[in-house]
């Protein structure tokens, strides 16, 4: 019985790692690989292209995260619950 909880945590962490890799694979397929191919004429080194592609991804994701933060209620989830209880 005492081993149940750590086992559950390990299982959850395993799922988190698995799905994070899965999400990274999908982002890579749809967003990174085409950029790597598009840049190959201008930037021959794969490593440099990869850096550029990842940096671009971070830059274009920032505004999306910004809007998500703005449209998720002020002060995050905990405060929202307090507001709702008031």
């Amino acid at each position: 019985m005492s081993g149940e909880r750590p086992r559950e945590t390990v299982r959850e962490l395993g799922r988190i790692v698995g799905y994070t890799l899965g999400a990274a694979l999908i982002l890579g397929m749809y967003l990174i690989v085409p950029v790597l191919l598009a840049l190959q004429g201008q930037v021959p080194a794969l490593g440099t292209r990869m850096l550029i592609a990842v940096a671009l991804l971070v830059v274009v994701e920032a505004p999306v995260v910004g809007v998500l933060v703005r449209t998720t209620l002020p002060g995050g989830l905990a405060r929202r619950r307090r507001n709702d209880r008031r």
């Binding site: 988190i16 994070t20 999400a23 690989v33 950029v35 790597l36 191919l37 449209t71 002020p74 507001n83």
Partner: protein, 479 residues
């Protein structure tokens, strides 16, 4: 070598087809993201509204929370959830809400009436709650069927004075599973007291019973909250290319005037009564009555792929019925040509993007695998000209972010999920995104193909609201 060259040529051809298909879907995504980036402040009301703020207003409208249910298995439990949230609001400030909020449940089931009346009696404070059973033999003058028939029954009661209230009154339309938390209801009261356009909508998120849905259904449901950015745009523009039946708030005088007696389409019942209703309001009142209240309603995803498929199939057939109905209406021909075109072609374009999602998803998956193989083999060739490749990346960016945005709104409003759980859910949605996209659009594709080939029979099976109801959904149905 010849074989490789041939494969390369096929892949290039596939790439160009993908570009055409993706562009059809991509332009619609641009429309969503224009609203997302430029007008996100209007999407939802962020500032909390307190009871004191409402008390300070010169006049408050009356709110009738109207829950429409068929009384199918599992529905009573979820209807209670929505009722309890309203009762919680009333219990927090009875002096403010008891005289200004009532709940009306419209059901086909006598057994459900008894259960729900007991719920109304069990509250800490008295709540004005009524359960109306639609008589089995009730018929509207135009022979309307399904949900609109029930809605019209209540309109007829109201026209004859049922539950009439002094002052301005709004009907807040709930589906069986809808919940509005007290904080959002307060914001809604504030909006209606200060702006109060006669027909408004707000965003819907899908966090309820989230973990009981299959991963594909959770990912399919992540497509929807971004769609509400489009809803906001069309509602504020006053051209209801899309109108959802829940989180729809209508002035009682307007709904009493229009009614829900929408008739039938070539002998078949209308299954998108909300769309037809929106069009009728536009034809009679013009675009000015539409608006966006921005208060969030919570609902639940379908539990199984089968239920999700049927739900999407129904939406598309319903909208196609509505578009086909328009030219048969005399008022439609009296509208300005520009508005007519907007309504017809705007809706057709929406349906086309839904249906074309299937070939787009399949082709782009094959094409991406080809691109991946080029990269793995370090081949110094570009499958398509660079600007076209960047356009593909832009559409991919919008599509994946659409899912990320929807998944975040769904999980961030789910109180049962920890931070780790939220991360897990968002990454899970992204991991199954291609499959979910194909499943989502397959229903739209199939509905459109059937419609175009003349198979226009419709059936009404409500989406099961509990997992046991979902498991037994087909029991007893004719094969």
């Amino acid at each position: 070598m010849v074989l490789l060259t041939l494969l390369g040529e096929i892949a290039r051809f596939l790439g160009f087809i993908t570009i055409v298909l993706i562009s059809v879907v991509g332009f619609r995504l641009l429309f969503y993201f224009r609203s997302f980036f430029l007008h996100s402040d209007r999407y939802r009301r962020r500032q909390p509204v307190s009871d004191d703020t409402l008390r300070a207003l010169p006049a408050l409208p009356f709110l009738k929370i109207q829950i429409t249910t068929r009384g199918s298995p599992g529905s009573t439990e979820v209807v209670q959830r929505g009722i309890q949230s309203v009762m919680q609001l009333i219990a927090e400030a009875p002096d403010l809400y008891q005289e200004r909020v009532s709940i009306e449940v419209l059901t086909d089931s006598v057994a459900e009436k008894e259960t729900l009346e007991a719920v109304f009696r069990s509250g800490r404070v008295a709540v004005e709650g009524t359960v109306v059973v639609v008589p089995a033999d009730y018929q509207t003058p135009h022979g309307t069927q399904l949900k609109a028939r029930s809605l019209h029954y209540l309109v007829e009661l109201r026209r004859s004075g049922f539950n009439r209230k002094p002052g301005r009154t709004f009907i807040v339309q709930y589906d069986e599973e809808s919940v509005m938390r007290p904080g959002e209801l307060r914001k809604l009261v504030f909006y209606l007291a200060t702006v109060g356009k006669p027909l408004t909508e707000g965003p819907i998120f899908y966090p309820l019973e989230y973990c009981d849905a299959t991963p594909i259904c959770r990912a399919m449901e992540a497509n929807r909250p971004l769609g509400c950015y489009e809803c906001r745009e069309v509602m504020e523009a006053g051209v209801p290319l899309h109108l959802h039946g829940s989180n729809l708030v209508v002035d009682e005088a307007l709904v009493n005037d229009i009614g829900w007696d929408i008739g039938t389409f070539d002998g078949q019942p209308f299954i998108a009564e909300d769309y037809v209703f929106g069009v009728q309001v536009l034809l009679r009142y013009g675009p000015e009555v539409f608006g966006w209240h921005g208060c969030v309603m919570l609902e639940q995803p379908p539990f199984s792929l089968k239920s999700a498929f049927r739900q999407r199939y129904r939406w598309i057939v319903g909208v196609l019925q509505g578009v086909a109905m328009l030219p048969r209406m005399a008022e439609f021909h009296a509208m300005p040509a520009r508005l007519r075109r907007q309504l017809i072609w705007g809706t057709r374009y929406r349906v086309a993007t839904f249906a074309l999602g299937l070939p787009t998803g399949l082709f782009s998956l094959l094409y991406l695998l080809y691109q991946g193989s080029l990269l793995m083999r370090s081949m110094a060739t570009q499958p398509l000209p660079a600007p076209l490749m960047l356009w593909l990346v832009l559409v991919g960016y919008m599509w994946l972010n659409g899912l990320l945005i929807g998944a975040w709104y769904n999980v961030s409003t789910n109180d049962q999920l920890s931070s780790r759980g939220r991360w897990l859910e968002v990454t899970r949605v992204l991991s199954v995104a291609p499959l979910a996209g194909i499943a989502e659009s397959a229903a739209g594709f199939w509905a459109t193909v059937n419609w175009l080939s003349g198979k226009r029979r419709v059936s009404w099976v409500t989406t099961p609201k509990t997992t046991p109801a979902d498991r037994t959904a087909d029991a007893g149905r004719p094969a």
